[in-house]
């Protein structure tokens, strides 16, 4: 689905990605892990074309995305922070995004799941952070895109919404979609991810299945495995 060759990115003198080689398999849920500042978000944003790489190529379905924008028709993105134009109503925002992507959508059941009916006519500035994040989830999942990318998808969600989001992720995978997410919550990774990419200081430290990582480092739990890697690298 996604192939990355020699991806490098530096912000001024700060090298964030130092030559990433990566292949993300279609139809799987992949989790990108790593300590703060390891380059997770930069990697995701490079795939989306929001960050422009210094070197290297990103191919989505064998097509190089450099200077392209059409490929984003195949991607849904759930960003980390949910902030929108303040004076728009929720319905207006949804119809605006629909307007931009000429695809068929099905947002009504998502609105129902997340209990957003009562907020539809409210202006976005009057919504709480969690409610905005729910709107964000609706925007990301209302399309039938083959690739869904999420940056810290659980931030700000209440436990009920979190359960719905997990169910949603699983059902999307069942439809044969590829999902990619970053998180710091290991429970979520153990519950959902098929594959793990562990980034450390801009390089891929480990890539493989969840079980593989656990057996390699600490079979007891993922959290401990990661702690072990970080301690071994003298990174804390």
């Amino acid at each position: 689905m996604i192939t990355i060759h020699g991806l490098k990115k530096a912000f001024n003198s700060n090298e964030v990605l130092k030559g990433i080689e990566l292949e993300i398999t279609a139809g799987k849920i992949t989790a990108i892990l790593g300590p703060n500042g390891s380059g997770k978000t930069t990697l995701i944003k490079s795939i989306l074309g929001m960050v422009i790489p210094d070197e290297g190529d990103i191919l989505i379905r064998q097509k190089n995305i450099k200077n392209q924008w059409n490929y984003r028709n195949e991607i849904s993105y759930l960003p980390q922070i949910a902030r929108f134009p303040e004076n728009l109503r929720v319905t207006e925002l949804i119809s605006m995004i629909k307007d931009l992507r000429a695809e068929s959508t099905d947002e009504s059941h998502l609105i129902e799941i997340f209990g957003l009916e009562e907020y539809l006519e409210k202006k976005l500035r009057n919504l709480s952070g969690g409610t905005r994040q729910k709107v964000n989830v609706v925007l990301a999942f209302m399309y039938d895109s083959p690739l869904i990318i999420m940056d810290e998808p659980t931030a700000g969600l209440d436990p009920v919404a979190l359960l719905h989001l997990k169910a949603l992720i699983i059902s999307e995978q069942a439809k044969g979609k590829t999902l990619l997410f970053t998180t710091h919550i290991m429970g979520l990774v153990e519950e959902l991810a098929d594959e793990i990419i562990f980034l450390l200081e801009g390089k891929i430290y480990f890539k493989g299945e969840l079980e593989e990582m656990k057996s390699k480092y600490d079979p007891a739990s993922l959290e401990k495995s990661i702690a072990m890697i970080l301690e071994k690298e003298d990174y804390a």
């Binding site: 912000f11 944003k45 924008w69 490929y71 960003p79 929108f84 134009p85 004076n87 931009l100 992507r101």
Partner: protein, 260 residues
């Protein structure tokens, strides 16, 4: 681009600030008209307000709007839309909505007062046009500054400095250089200096059109002498257009290369 424009325009036109901006112009223009009681005199006072205030509001709103819509821009960037379309849409959305507040606020009182029955209608038209130019120019400048500066305080500071420089300091330096070099033929220098300041340009444009030689000032007089009224107006219009295009293109250029 039109879709982005449409939404940012509607977002802005409903914001409180557009209304306040509209009311400000509305109230100033009504009070001037009824205090002065003369259409052309009120127009000259309005001109003095417009050439200072429109750039300031363009600058402030531009910088605030850009920084405020950062996350929204990120959301749009993840959509299948061309980058330049997003940024051009935001730029036109803000410039057009500010221009509309200005046009309606400054225009309606004059229309009520009987603008259409007077001979001043074209003069007033030129005044409005230069106000719109200034709004576009300074929105472009502030967007360009904002896209180049992650640090909001710094971006804000630079934008205000640009406004202050062009609206106030430039004239002072200009005058100073005229005094220092008064023994030399400096008409050409003065002309060049005027062309490099959009605020001066629009002032000259309006005064040339109104044909008030007493208000022309030194540069205006030089302008008039050099080009005559007609050509002088055309030249200043042309230069204002260049002034509009240059910051807007600069903004788009930097926005295309920026990481979000």
């Amino acid at each position: 681009m039109l879709k982005i424009l449409k939404y940012s325009f509607f977002d802005l036109i409903r914001s409180r600030w557009s209304l306040i901006y509209f009311l400000f112009y509305f109230i100033s223009s009504i009070s001037l008209l009824y205090l002065v009681g003369d259409l052309s005199k009120a127009m000259i006072s309005m001109m003095n307000i417009i050439i200072i205030l429109s750039p300031l509001i363009g600058t402030l709103f531009g910088i605030m709007y850009y920084y405020n819509s950062r996350e929204f821009i990120e959301l749009l960037l993840a959509q299948p839309v061309r980058r330049t379309a997003i940024f051009a849409g935001q730029y036109f959305g803000l410039s057009i909505s500010l221009s509309l507040s200005f046009l309606l606020g400054a225009g309606i009182p004059f229309v009520i007062y009987g603008l259409f029955r007077s001979a001043e209608i074209w003069n007033f038209g030129v005044l409005l046009i230069s106000g719109v130019f200034l709004t576009f120019i300074f929105t472009g400048f502030s967007f360009m500054i904002a896209v180049r500066n992650e640090n909001r305080i710094k971006g804000f500071g630079i934008a205000i400095l640009v406004w202050l420089f062009l609206a106030v300091i430039y004239d002072g330096l200009f005058l100073l250089s005229l005094i220092i070099f008064q023994d030399y033929p400096i008409e050409k220098l003065a002309l060049v200096l005027t062309v490099f300041n959009p605020i001066d340009l629009s002032r000259i444009l309006v005064i040339l059109k109104m044909d008030i030689s007493a208000l022309l000032g030194y540069t205006g007089a030089v302008f008039n002498k050099f080009f005559g009224t007609q050509a002088g107006m055309l030249l200043s219009l042309f230069m204002l257009t260049i002034w509009t295009v240059f910051p807007a293109l600069g903004f788009l250029y930097f926005a295309r290369k920026k990481d979000f």
